[in-house]
Assembly symmetry: D5
Homo-oligomer: 149 residues x 10
């Protein structure tokens, strides 16, 4: 019996390695962006029924796993408070070094409030560059103002 | 006597509030992006001599403070390991929720390596939107591959 | 010179104790709820110009402090990760004990998403009760769904 | 052999996903609020004998599991000190941002003491709203004053 | 100007050392138990007006400090999560070693619920004993049951 | 093969639930206080040979488990530094709120030293009370003075 | 089924002990430095296809494990934030004691920027010495300057 | 009065910035390596009398500060357990990613023991390189074997 | 006014550096061991009246400081949970590496109980040795058995 | 297959309990001190081939386990940063309370440097005493001076 969502993520990863499937292929099959689809496979988003069945077929998951894919998961994909993986740490470093800057500039433009991490999308692209290719990432989040009451 | 860089940041913030200067105005005076200039004023980047003098004049800083602006600072702008400020936390949350997704997609596109946080730039813009304006952020970092040796 | 928002909070608290002002009186003077007004005085929300002047007058704050009240503060009002104050700890305990329950029930009703802590209001009332009066608190937050993209 | 209460929670969740049972249905069968019933199923409250048997039948639990449901559990439903799940984090954020406000206002109204988290109830409701539906939550806790002795 | 309650505790301690006052004397003057009175002087309980004036006179506190003594303080008297002082650590050790025992035995006697730390009193006494005197402590707290709703 | 003491505790708890044994019954069978006996069953104290055999018979433990009961265990019964269970947290809260008070009063009475947590006993009793029954706990520990050398 | 990279590391270590293979032998077979090869076997670097097959043959790994060796792993080889192993701790101590020195001297020579840990190599050698042999380690990392933008 | 070594470090840094002294100049004046001299100025090593006087003269320190320079300091130069400064973090990352590799290779060469961080030296050099200059660091530590007894 | 014991420790250290007093001289003046006397000066033990006066005279302390020396202090002499100073860390390492060994051997010899850190003395001596002098430390603590009750 | 050293420690402990072997007997069989032998059995030291075979025979270990005994282990024998076991905690308390004293006295005698935890031995003995037997422990570590370079 599958008793948590994490087991489903492990099944997906094990089959992805064994079958050599790419995340682009999964996203194409599901018909959504590669960013959202990957996040959902890794247990951070919720599939609807037809999406879950497509994913289940690709990775040859049992029915029970397909049911779990449609449940809102307990989110959070990192094993430690400060990430140890160098790629992910660089993002944490950006938050740490630029955090106060981001805060100052958004408040200067919008006033008090936040940039949503829910009504949010992300797009990761390669930019070819003679000095070494670059990773370009666009983050887009709705501004949510604090209101007085 | 000024014994650390943090005192200079506090002087800048106190004068910014007292005089009503905006970060856009500082960036225009220095002639660089608002993102880099704000980070530098907040003690995360190093000004060269002429930039430091412009900043010093704007905020009426003493000579000693202008010297400190030209020293590479001990970086890190947040008071806690997990940020408590809601605006900055949303960025930490993006790293936490999407961290493994970002890792998977960059590796699928580029192989093993990282996106640099040093050869890096950031651009924050307002996107007008009838459902509520959005904050759009573009992050651009050079891809640095791990090499065998 | 006042170099951070925390100093303004301390000034407000010191004058509140010395003058015997209540938060109800501050809220009445500002014309907003006691919950929002108290949070703003304690450095968690941002006053506009006229509100800041009213607060400044009540607590006899210097002009510089009134300017700080109009700056979006670095939020987070507790000195430790797990609160040590028994009253505030009970709220942390509610999150700890009921957290997974809240998550399950909101997802069952609304699907995947969150209850906003920004587009949010709170109302604290006394309910008289012969077995001991009760504190009743109403929390209201907009539901923000995760979207596919 | 079942050696802890956590195993029972996992059994309940696995069967809930497999059978498609909702928490409303469990609460109706038990005859109590959905909030308390869900918390109890998740190992935060204690069922009496007849309640435990109803739950056991719904989720097809073995007798031993039904015995565990009647034992006061070691409470605490979150895996980390600061929750990583965005929905639950928003509640932690409320405690963090509004914690000192809540403390000030309850003390202003009631004097020194706490709002009980034991003699406590919670009600979660959807409020339809043209700007996006809202989650409304009512928390009610007995005020317990500190006494001199 | 006194900007927090901790400054008042420091004033009390400094004067206690300088004048050689004992906690028994303070408790006698206030007319309450030595346990509650000491806790209140150390910033963990709230004095009423007449009690505060007696304490203020004993320790020659300024008027402002006497006002602070009547404000419900942010409680928590230890500088670290795990106490380093050997006397206080032994109490933490008792909680650590006997915690699960206490839980089992209270639940066996009373069912699910807690022993209140608010409707609570403590009495510390010396017991003469030929093998070395003993510290005897009686803790008394109201049992608060969890209720279904 | 049983490779640690924790496995024995889990066996005891599982059999206790399955057979409906109470801690009072165990204590009566062993002929010691319910407090010490429960602590020993939960892996915090060491049984001698005859006590271990009585416990082994009650819970139908294998011979290997009975051998483990006679080994001094690695003590500490709580899974987190700050306990999350509300009942046990109240005790941690007492240490946190009253810790400095306890220290002051024991030093005032006895001088510098500690109250032993080893030469120590605990007694938990119900006190009937029309306003709600109370949990009364007597802690008794030998005072151990620091000596000069 | 192998569901994570860590299992492959454990298989490699178990077979290394059982067969008495040295890291030098693995490095010779793969044709790269012993430092990089060991790091890759321990799950910190990514093998290409032919390297993975050589490693797989040496340690008699199943096909699935050989596939995992070619996936960029989640890096980080230590079980605690501060390492407890005395050999590895000495390196952490060097960072702790000499960290600010390293920072000052690299900035004095190169200006603001970092020494890359990605475009990086390491060489560990024994230096014979009559007072006791020494471990000599050469670290070489590209300097990456912060740029203004 | 100077009550700790940290104040002396701050005096040195403030004067270094104000006077524009380089660490190379300090090392030349003292007649030792730039690595050891910088570490000593930053409060990690102990100067002898004549070295302390040279340093005192360079930075115009008071006599009391010169006395503090000759006291073995409490070492540790970083403000957080995991460094937030990107340059120093890269070193922590090396320990984290390569830690187990370093351990394996030193044990393979030397057997069980450690590389000393006390009988230790460090040399930091610039290597010119057409693809970008490199930071080369040589660490040399005596091997200390564990002995049986 | 002196408001805590830590200020007295700083005064002692500042004067010790300024006057060049050794701990041996203090111990000789007080007439006790150097270990206990140093610990007491550093705020870990309590002096009686005549001892405090001798110490006060040596370090030219004000009367108020001499009063503080006779108060049982809040003990704990290290600024971090894991010490960063290499000398002190080696002791923590001994506890970490040999902790379970110490536990096993004391229990094998004495049964369940502890070695007291209160009825305890320490003696630190230099042992001349041609291979390098050694630090020899003798720790002596009363064995305190757990008792059944 | 045995995939880590910890499994071997668990096998040794399980067999020690089952067979009633003492550490003294193991030390006698191996021909070394009880302190070193116990540490090695608990995975903190490395046996050579003949020692490992003796240990393997005593505890009836499989060949694979005997190979693991000859591998330098990842050291650190405690499950938490601050030990919860009262016996081991007393040692941590000694480091915490006496740490700064130990540092001051070793530096006063030897100058700047450390007491080695590698070139180190420990001897634990019972001292009979009419007031209660004492545990006497002798620690002996080579002094390693910091050198200038």
């Amino acid at each position: 019996m599958i008793t948590d969502r994490k087991t489903v993520t492990e099944l997906i990863l094990a089959n992805k390695v064994a079958k050599g499937i790419t995340w682009h292929q999964v996203a194409d099959a599901v018909g959504l962006s590669k960013e959202w689809t990957t996040a959902a496979c890794l247990g951070q988003m919720t599939f609807n029924k037809s999406q879950a069945e497509i994913v289940g077929e690709l990775f040859e998951l049992p029915d029970e796993a397909i049911a779990w894919l449609q449940i809102a998961p307990y989110k959070g994909s990192l094993p430690t408070v400060v990430p140890t993986d160098p790629l992910i740490y660089r993002w944490y470093e950006v938050v740490n070094v630029y955090g106060s800057t981001i805060k100052e500039l958004i408040h200067e433009e919008f006033g008090d409030g936040i940039m949503s991490a829910i009504d949010f999308s992300m797009d990761i692209q390669r930019e070819e560059n003679p000095n070494g290719d670059r990773v370009n990432v666009v983050l887009s989040g709705k501004f949510l103002p604090y209101k007085t009451y």
